[in-house]
C-alpha cells in the first residue's frame, strides 16, 4: 500500500457503518456557527435521504444524499471522514444496479428497491 494511503488511514474514521449507493441513510451533521453575541455554538441537524453517489477515495470520500423536502429535491454532500459527521445510520438498504443514481433527479418520487434481507 502506498504511503499516502497509509497516512490517510491513520486519520480516517472507523466507527461508521459501510454505506452503499441506494441506501436510505440518516446523517447527523454538526454545524459550528456563531450566535449574535459572537459566541461559538454548534448544533446537530439530521438529513435523511437516499445516497445517489459516492465520490472520492481515502480521506476525501464523500456521499451525496438526496431527499425531497416539501416537494423540492435537496441534495447534500457529506465528507464521511469529517468530525462534523456526528452520526450515520442506515434506514433501509437499497438494491441498485448502478454506481450513480443521477436518474432520480428526474423523478418526482425517490424510489429504490429495497434489498431483501437474505
Amino acid at each position: 500500500m502506498d504511503i499516502v494511503r497509509r497516512i490517510e488511514q491513520t486519520m480516517m474514521r472507523e466507527d461508521l457503518p459501510s454505506v452503499d449507493v441506494g441506501d436510505t441513510v440518516r446523517v447527523k451533521w454538526r454545524f459550528n456557527e456563531k450566535d449574535r453575541s459572537g459566541e461559538e455554538k454548534s448544533r446537530v441537524q439530521a438529513f435523511e435521504g437516499i445516497i445517489i453517489a459516492k465520490k472520492g477515495t481515502g480521506i476525501s470520500e464523500s456521499i451525496l444524499v438526496r431527499k425531497i423536502s416539501s416537494g423540492i429535491g435537496v441534495e447534500k454532500s457529506f465528507p464521511i471522514h469529517s468530525p462534523n459527521l456526528v452520526g450515520l445510520e442506515i434506514v433501509t438498504k437499497g438494491k441498485v444496479r448502478r454506481a450513480k443514481l443521477y436518474y432520480l433527479r428526474d423523478k418526482k418520487h425517490l424510489v429504490v428497491k429495497k434489498r431483501s434481507r437474505f
Partner: protein, 219 residues
C-alpha cells in the same frame, strides 16, 4: 536557523482534516534521512552545508563522487546539494545524520524547490494562456495561433521577451512560504500546505523560508 533545509522526494498530495472539519490540501514530502556531506566556512564569509539524500548502491555512483562521500564518512547518496546562508555552518558536523525533526517544526514556513513537470514544446495557448481564435463561426485554420507579435516599420522588431511557443515546464521552480502542517518523524515525512513543483516521486529541496527582508521584500 534560516536557509538550512533538507533534500527529499515528493510522495503525493492528500488532505488533512482538523477537529473543526476543515480540510487542508497538503503535499507529502519524504525528506530524510539526510547526511551532512560537507561543511564549509571560508575566509570571505561564505558558509555552507552540503546535504546528501537517498542511499544507493555503490556501483550507482562514479568514483570521484564515491571518494568524496567516503571521505565524509556517509553512505553513498544519489543527491547532494549545498545550502548557503551566513552562520549556517556551526550546527552541523560532517558525517552527521539529519532527520526531519532536527531541522523543521510544525507550523514553520518553508520554500520548496523542484523541477516542474515538462510539457515539451508547447504553443501559446497552453504555455501562456492565450485565447486563440474561435472554433467555429467561419474560422478556418485560425484556432490556436498566437496572433500579432508586433507593430509595423516602427519599431520594426519583435520585442525581446515576447511570449511565444517554446519549451514549457521541466525547469526549476521555487514555491515560497509554504506552511508545514504536520511532521511525521518516524517516516521522515513533511506535509506542507498546498502544491509543490514536480511529479510524484520527483526530487525536491525543502528549506526554511528566507521570508521577508528588511524592506518587506523577499531576500
Amino acid at each position: 536557523m534560516k536557509g538550512i533545509g533538507l533534500l527529499g522526494r515528493k510522495i503525493g498530495m492528500s488532505r488533512f482534516i482538523d477537529d473543526k472539519g476543515i480540510f487542508t490540501p497538503v503535499t507529502l514530502i519524504k525528506a530524510g534521512p539526510n547526511y551532512v556531506v560537507n561543511v564549509r566556512k571560508e575566509d570571505n564569509g561564505l558558509e555552507s552545508v552540503a546535504m546528501g539524500f537517498e542511499v544507493v548502491k555503490e556501483k550507482a555512483l562514479n568514483k570521484p563522487k564515491l571518494g568524496a562521500l567516503k571521505k565524509a564518512g556517509v553512505p553513498p547518496v544519489r543527491f547532494v546539494k549545498e545550502f548557503r546562508y551566513p552562520g549556517i555552518s556551526e550546527q552541523f558536523q560532517v558525517g552527521q545524520e539529519v532527520n526531519v525533526t532536527d531541522v523543521f517544526q510544525d507550523g514553520e514556513l518553508v520554500d520548496v524547490i523542484g523541477v516542474s513537470r515538462g510539457r515539451g514544446f508547447a504553443g501559446g495557448v497552453r504555455r501562456w494562456g492565450f485565447a486563440g481564435g474561435p472554433k467555429t463561426h467561419g474560422s478556418r485554420g485560425w484556432h490556436r495561433r498566437i496572433g500579432s507579435i508586433g507593430n509595423r516599420t516602427y519599431p520594426g522588431e519583435v520585442k525581446p521577451g515576447k511570449k511565444m511557443p517554446g519549451q514549457y515546464g521541466n525547469e526549476q521552480v521555487t514555491v515560497r512560504n509554504l506552511k508545514i502542517v504536520k511532521i511525521i518523524p518516524e517516516q521522515n515525512i513533511i506535509a506542507v500546505k498546498g502544491s509543490v513543483p514536480g511529479s510524484k516521486n520527483g526530487f525536491v529541496l525543502v528549506r526554511k523560508a528566507y521570508g521577508l527582508g528588511p524592506q518587506g521584500r523577499s531576500e
